[in-house]
């Protein structure tokens, strides 16, 4: 088997991988390999043909493929070498990657640093345990998106969509555009799990009914989906007897959440956070195994691609510094923990000295929605370190707070930082 040597190897060429590759190259990684299993770079952005990308970074409202194109071009200009149509099968702790492709056969890659940018996968029927028969016609929303937008065929004519995630709502509009009927969107939670603008522009615009606190009791049909039986649920997800309704349809799409894709990370022995299903990372996006970095949705699921790009740029810079021996690994790092109403916070560890190089963002998801002014607070046990007021906080939208150089003195002796999102006193 042929062995290729490189400074930095990046696995996955979605927005996280592309940004990492560009930043690693710009920060001195001479030999860099970007490995992609698809025939072309860009990742899932290529099938997200709707607008709404790049508002933060470019101040422009671009479709997904145009956003990807920008970074593909930049990577090519930076001299990033790409191995396309190449599947990574194995990675070991000593940063040896085994990959296979139609053109190169089996290939070994020996890297000095590895960036994991495999993105995330959709939850499937099995993961939400939907009862009923097992006919054809039950797909994840993203699979249907690939078929409709890239490969050019329609998976059905009459749809029910389970979950009010963004991909589900966007697919409801897309299928309507292509002549299908979307009968219903069901959401088990009492609140929307995607963005409000997608509710307005994808469902409301086309009179597609959305039912909150409803789920699927049973899928009906043998060869093909014939109908679904829906049911209302209470606040504890218990079915409310008598609320059942049968909706005829030939296809059920699932938009019920995304899970970071970390099979390769586990092979290496990288520790994963059970709350995010992604690796524990510090603010350099280094994982628990030295020299392995992780960027984008492989770490935790973002709401905006712009933040994935920023994370990729940071991971790429760190990996290039590591490959050239300039990233120290014995810096003092303190754990960052999730407090009240915070589901998880990234990074898990903060390198205090790195605050000298500029502000570091802590990114979090809240557990429950708060529809009144909230305070995002960072505490070191008892003392308040930083605080920020926001008009509201919802699980569907990432919340951030920055730590700056001025906070260094205060936290240098802290044993941990705790982040919480609480109601602002006196507001209602």
């Amino acid at each position: 088997m042929k062995t290729v040597f490189c400074d930095v190897a990046v696995i996955g060429s979605g927005p996280g991988g592309l940004a990492s590759a560009i930043a690693a190259k710009q920060n001195g990684a001479k030999e860099l390999l970007l490995i992609e299993r698809d025939r072309e770079p860009g990742g899932i952005l290529l099938q997200c043909i709707h607008n709404g990308f790049g508002v933060e970074i470019f101040k422009q409202d671009l479709p997904g493929p145009a956003y990807a194109q920008h970074f593909i071009r930049e990577a090519q200009q930076a001299g990033v070498s790409m191995l396309l149509d190449t599947m990574v099968l194995e990675i070991s702790k000593d940063k040896r990657i085994i990959a296979s492709s139609k053109t190169n056969g089996m290939l070994a890659i020996q890297a000095k640093a590895v960036i994991l940018a495999m993105g995330c996968r959709e939850r499937t029927r099995a993961q939400v345990r939907l009862p009923g028969s097992r006919p054809a016609g039950v797909y994840t929303a993203g699979t249907a998106q690939r078929w409709v937008n890239v490969e050019g065929f329609m998976p059905g004519k009459k749809f029910v969509i389970l979950g009010s995630g963004d991909i589900g709502m966007i697919m409801a509009r897309r299928l309507t555009f292509e002549g299908a009927k979307v009968e219903r969107v069901l959401e088990i939670m009492p609140y929307l799990s995607g963005l409000m603008r997608n509710y307005v522009q994808c469902l409301q615009d086309f009179d597609i009914p959305l039912q909150m606190q409803h789920t699927i009791k049973r899928i009906i049909g043998n060869e093909r989906v014939e109908a679904v039986e829906t049911v209302a649920v209470d606040d504890h997800w218990s079915e409310i007897p008598g609320s059942e309704e049968t909706i005829e349809c030939d296809t059920l799409l699932l938009s019920v959440g995304l899970i970071p894709e970390n099979e390769l990370s586990q092979q290496v022995g990288i520790q994963l956070d059970p709350l995010t299903a992604g690796p524990f990372v510090d603010n350099h996006f280094q994982t628990s195994v030295e020299g392995f970095f992780a960027a984008g949705n492989v770490v935790h699921v973002y709401d905006l691609v712009d933040w994935v790009t920023s994370a990729g740029l940071q991971a790429g810079e760190s990996a290039a510094r590591y490959a050239s021996g300039k990233l120290c690994c014995d810096e003092k790092e303190i754990p960052v923990r999730h407090g009240q109403n915070v589901h998880h916070v990234i990074p898990h560890f903060l390198d205090i000295n790195s605050l000298k190089d500029g502000e570091k963002q802590l990114q979090m998801r809240v557990t429950k929605p708060l529809e009144q002014p909230v305070k995002v607070q960072v505490l070191d046990g008892t003392e308040l370190i930083a605080s920020r007021t926001l008009p509201y906080a919802r699980p569907g939208e990432m919340v951030t707070i920055g730590l700056k150089e001025k906070h260094m003195e205060q936290i240098k002796n802290a044993t941990q930082l705790v982040v919480q999102v609480i109601e602002k006193e006196g507001s209602k």
């Binding site: 025939r39 072309e40 860009g42 290529l46 043909i49 709707h50 607008n51 409202d61 671009l62 479709p63 997904g64 493929p65 145009a66 990807a68 194109q69 937008n149 890239v150 490969e151 050019g152 555009f177 009492p190 609140y191 929307l192 963005l195 409000m196 603008r197 509710y199 307005v200 522009q201 469902l203 409301q204 615009d205 009914p209 959305l210 039912q211 909150m212 929605p369 529809e371 008009p391 509201y392 939208e397």
Partner: protein, 123 residues
């Protein structure tokens, strides 16, 4: 926000930012009175939404000689909402030939609106 289905007929949800305020609308000819807005952008949004609603439209056209059978395209600016289905019908009949550059015009002036339809990527 418990459910969106309880919107009153004279209410719209503002999408100028992610907050999603419910705006109360009173219309009298060209005059639109907006109340319950969270900020100035809401008033602006509601006026446009009532008098001339527009949306960005993204879809695909057939392409021959490309890596895929479809080329994603989008309107260069928000397109009149009432004519979206007509635009889609027109684009469904459109066929292009590879190579295409990102940003290239697929339609110069869609349905006489003066709005161009652009390729979303190279193919």
């Amino acid at each position: 926000m418990n459910t969106q289905n309880d919107l009153k007929p004279d209410q719209i949800i503002c999408v100028a930012c992610p907050k999603g305020c419910r705006l109360n609308i009173q219309q009298d000819g060209d005059q639109v009175l907006v109340t319950n807005e969270g900020c100035k952008r809401g008033v602006e949004y509601a006026r446009r939404e009532i008098l001339d609603p527009r949306r960005m439209v993204a879809t695909t056209v057939r392409i021959s000689g490309g890596i895929h059978p479809l080329l994603p395209v989008y309107t260069a600016e928000p397109f009149p909402k009432a004519r979206i289905m007509d635009l889609l019908a027109l684009l469904r009949k459109t066929q292009v030939q590879s190579p295409i550059q990102e940003g290239q015009s697929i339609l110069q002036d869609a349905l006489g609106t003066g709005i161009a339809v652009l390729a979303s990527r190279d193919m």
